[in-house]
């Protein structure tokens, strides 16, 4: 199996497809992108999408963006990457510009403020719930758990993120390497 693409979408099709993904992906892009690219369009196999997403998650930067660039580059080189990235962000940004303008105009009205306070509280719980869900699913080994807890503590101490990431990434990688070797040894 080579990496030769079976489909040949034009840059215009790439842009329009990612425009659709951007505007419909409530609460996280990756699941929607998979649905559209693999099931609706059939441009990528499940495996190809997983590999592209995997690289997008390892690379620094927003992983929805990294994955869009991976997909765009695969089908249309640099221009394809640009088409996907622009498509992904154009729609939601236009919408958010409108929302932000409304917020500036009406954000201080008591009823609006009360509603937004409720949404903000719910969003805080959403982030907490996501973190708990991910941690439980991960079932980390002790060293990996320590890396996660250290990251949490440093975030709460408001340590600057560059130092946190650069300082902890080597430990995370070493712990993962070790955990995977242990796993491999047991089989």
């Amino acid at each position: 199996m080579s990496g030769e693409p079976r489909a040949h979408p034009s840059n215009r099709a790439l842009f329009l497809t990612y425009l659709q993904i951007g505007l419909t992906s409530f609460g996280g892009v990756n699941a929607w992108a998979r649905h559209v690219l693999v099931e609706q369009r059939g441009w990528l196999t499940e495996q190809e999408y997983a590999e592209t997403l995997g690289l997008g998650q390892v690379l620094p930067g927003p992983n929805a963006l990294n994955t869009a660039i991976g997909v765009g580059t695969r089908f249309g080189g640099a221009l394809g990457a640009l088409a996907c990235a622009l498509g992904l962000f154009a729609g939601p940004m236009a919408l958010l510009a409108g929302i932000a303008a409304l917020y500036d105009a009406y954000g201080q009205w008591p009823l609006v403020r009360a509603t937004l306070t409720g949404i903000a509280a719910a969003a805080a719980g959403m982030v907490l719930g996501t973190a708990i869900k991910m941690a439980v699913k991960l079932k980390p080994s002790l060293p990996l758990l320590l890396v996660g807890l250290t990251a949490l503590s440093l975030a709460l101490l408001r340590a600057p993120l560059p130092y946190v990431v650069l300082g902890l990434a080597p430990f995370g990688l070493a712990a993962a390497w070790w955990a995977l070797r242990q796993d491999g040894g047991r089989k």
């Binding site: 690289l55 930067g61 929805a64 903000a120 509280a121 869900k133 993120l161």
Partner: protein
């Protein structure tokens, strides 16, 4: 340094640090935007973030909304460019690797080892958001219910955002 340049630099430093999406860089975004530069207060920060969560599209667009709030359309452009461009260039440059590293012996530990770091940072984001949003008893109830809902069920988190908004409108 002009305001727009400051915005570009602030979000530009966040770009390559966003492992695991917007939620993981939230503490740093909060630190820069609220504490270092004083561009907005706690409540505004958590409301703008919540708006970006409720809208479709990548969550990283929280940066764009904050840029808008700080300096209008130009601020939005600077925040978005700062947040996306460095990562986009790097991602484009690295695409050749997928083909060469098909056996990818390093990819798995790399993914696996960065996830706990990202989860720790996301948990930190949750606590910081809760501190900002928890202004009275009702908001703590909303935080607790939504945490449990998102953790224990598979329904879309949009339901909690809608529910939180409705409760806030009726009771706050």
């Amino acid at each position: 340094m002009t305001l727009l340049l400051q915005i570009l630099l602030a979000f530009g430093t966040l770009s390559l640090l966003a492992i695991g999406g917007a939620n993981a860089v939230l503490p740093e975004m909060h630190r820069l935007v609220v504490e270092v530069h004083g561009w907005m207060d706690d409540a505004t920060f958590s409301q703008l973030f919540a708006l970006a969560q409720a809208a479709p599209g990548p969550n990283i667009l929280a940066a764009s909304v904050m840029g808008w709030h700080i300096a209008g359309g130009a601020g939005m452009a600077m925040a978005t460019i700062g947040m996306l461009l460095p990562a986009a260039i790097l991602a484009y440059g690295m695409q050749g690797l997928t083909h060469r590293l098909r056996g990818n012996t390093w990819l798995k530990p790399a993914q696996f080892g960065l996830v706990p770091l990202a989860v720790g940072l996301i948990a930190g984001s949750g606590v910081i958001m809760a501190q900002a949003a928890g202004t009275n008893l009702l908001s703590f109830v909303i935080i607790a219910v939504s945490t449990i809902f998102v953790w224990r069920t598979k329904y879309s988190p949009l339901w909690v955002l809608a529910g939180g908004g409705a409760l806030g409108l009726l009771l706050l």
